[in-house]
């Protein structure tokens, strides 16, 4: 009975794979991957996958696009896809960054989604190109057990395919998975599979048909801080009087295995090293150089456990939340600082002004679920335009601050699923007439003048009853 069922399942699987290969051949492009090497870095909670593809054009017409395939669950957690073409040998290797865009073409078998790499010079018949692809996945490690006590270590599951999901025929491929420690509870074996200290090697596999998928499950120890900022609001307020005020509102959470049972401060403090290994108690924020008036506080007030180190290139702020964060625990706080305006605000040759600031979250190794960057332009500025090198949602708001009449224009940039790779400069262009800077002092001058006029008119009026 069992054997019969298995045989049927096997038949079904064979049929499906046959169908898939037929389907893929129908939409086939004349490309094949000669060699694919994938290195999956699982050392942090931000999963980095380095993919080296050697692509060959076996068709007659030149090809200018290479498709990458991702499973639906990967697409959901995909933060960054970057690609570069490499030329030259070992030491003289040069990288040419290539454009990657989310492909419009309909989803492939099993909901496979595509990203398209646009080659700078099309591949003609028989030519090969070497492509380096980096993609980053967030929130893809599932803690198992889902709840751990203070003394336990955190174990997580990672799901992927041993064979590269690809719309092309892959001649030879290998996958390396790097785990943070040597403690690996289990891993799926897809022959040939080898494990050596912190590395699991899948492959080499030869001649895989398009869309082959061999699910694997790796269960391993990962005690890196799973620091996730659920919402980060960064407000950058521009003042042409010489300051840029940045206020960052964080709501931080430990996204690892949830904490179970009681928390013993005594155990935590005395048995450091083997108690609460998955928790974290401090975070490092990288701030721009020449920061001043840095503060770190929450709803209660100032949090005194922070240290600031400044040098010519950067400032580092080490912050300690009020309590160590265990799985599922949250913390909200505010970091604020001022920086000199001349470091970030420029006048372009056409007379417009622009702000050049770093996007992303200043905290190291942190995923941000929802990142809001608000640029508060000075009152009286016109035509705001944001230039960001990756897709973000944009909208405009109005904010009232000190001595404002018509309100300040706020450019709001919203980005979901941001990782440290998004910490790259962005620009906000606007036009501003310096005469508007005089609005605030003139308002104060007028107020004082009205007071004097009131005094004059009071003393000139004759309010006495006796004549």
């Amino acid at each position: 009975m069992d054997a019969l069922l298995r045989a049927r399942l096997l038949h079904l699987a064979l049929f499906i794979s046959l169908l898939l290969s037929v389907l893929s051949h129908a939409s086939s492009q004349e490309l094949q991957i000669v060699n694919a090497e994938r290195r999956i870095d699982l050392t942090s909670h931000i999963i980095k996958v380095y993919l080296t593809l050697k692509v060959e054009n076996i068709g007659a017409s030149p090809a200018s696009e290479v498709n990458l395939a991702f499973s639906p669950s990967e697409v959901e957690h995909l933060a960054v896809v970057k690609a570069a073409a490499t030329t030259g040998k070992k030491k003289k290797r040069t990288y040419v960054p290539l454009d990657v865009k989310s492909s419009e073409q309909p989803a492939g078998p099993n909901g496979t989604k595509y990203f398209t790499i646009i080659l700078s010079n099309p591949l003609s018949k028989g030519e090969t190109a070497t492509l380096e692809v980096l993609y980053i996945l967030t929130r893809s490690l599932e803690p198992f057990p889902a709840e751990i006590s203070q003394s336990e270590s955190q174990l997580v599951y990672y799901r992927d395919s041993a064979i590269l999901l690809s719309p092309y025929h892959v001649k030879q491929q290998t996958t390396f998975i790097k785990t943070p420690s040597t403690r690996v509870e289990s891993f799926t074996v897809v022959e040939p599979t080898k494990r050596a200290s912190t590395e699991i090697k899948y492959g080499p596999y030869d001649n895989q048909t398009p869309y082959t998928y061999a699910p694997i499950l790796v269960h391993f120890e990962n005690n890196n801080p799973f620091a996730v900022v659920e919402e980060l609001e960064r407000e950058i307020e521009i003042s042409h009087w010489g300051n840029l005020q940045v206020t960052e509102r964080y709501s931080l959470v430990h996204a690892g295995a949830r904490h179970k049972g009681v928390f013993s401060r005594v155990d935590y403090q005395t048995k450091q090293g083997n108690i609460g290994v998955s928790s974290f108690k401090h975070l490092l924020a990288r701030l721009p150089p020449r920061v001043h008036s840095v503060y770190y506080r929450d709803g209660i007030g100032n949090i005194s456990s922070s240290r600031l180190r400044t040098d010519f290139l950067k400032s580092e702020l080490l912050i300690e939340p009020r309590y160590p964060l265990f799985g599922g625990w949250k913390s909200t706080f505010v970091i604020g600082y001022g920086v000199p305006v001349e470091d970030f605000l420029f006048e372009s040759p056409d007379g417009g002004r622009y702000l050049n600031f770093t996007f992303g979250c200043p905290l190291a190794d942190t995923v941000v679920d929802k990142l809001l960057v608000k640029v508060v332009l000075p009152e009286g500025s016109k035509d705001p335009k944001a230039v960001v090198s990756f897709p973000v949602e944009q909208r405009l708001e109005t904010k009232y601050s000190y001595l404002d009449v018509v309100g300040r224009t706020v450019v709001v940039l919203e980005k979901r699923n941001a990782v440290p790779e998004h910490n790259i400069p962005f620009q906000v262009h606007y036009s501003f007439n310096p005469i508007f800077m005089l609005a605030e002092p003139l308002m104060l001058v007028t107020a004082f003048f009205f007071f004097f006029v009131a005094a004059v008119s009071y003393l000139h009026l004759d309010l006495s009853i006796r004549k």
């Binding site: 001349e342 470091d343 001595l403 310096p434």
Partner: protein, 76 residues
């Protein structure tokens, strides 16, 4: 031509000094304005002189208080 950085019209380090001096001048003028108002009789008072003193005093007080705001970190 490269983009040139935008600086504040007055160096930031001058703000406290400017604020102290402008507020001092402004307050002295305010004092003289009120001394004039209370010591002269209604008939001998000149409206032009009153308004000139008031204008100059409010200029100094206005800019003085702006620089006080800037020096104390409230960047308007």
């Amino acid at each position: 031509m490269a983009a040139k950085p935008i600086t504040s019209p007055v160096p930031v380090s001058w703000y406290p000094t400017l604020s102290v001096f402008m507020l001092a001048i402004g307050l002295v003028l305010t004092a003289s304005f009120f001394i004039y108002e209370t010591t002269s009789s209604r008939k001998s008072r000149s409206l032009a002189k009153e308004l000139t003193t008031a204008a100059v005093a409010s200029f100094f007080l206005g800019f003085g208080s702006l620089f006080l705001l800037l020096a104390s970190g409230v960047f308007v």
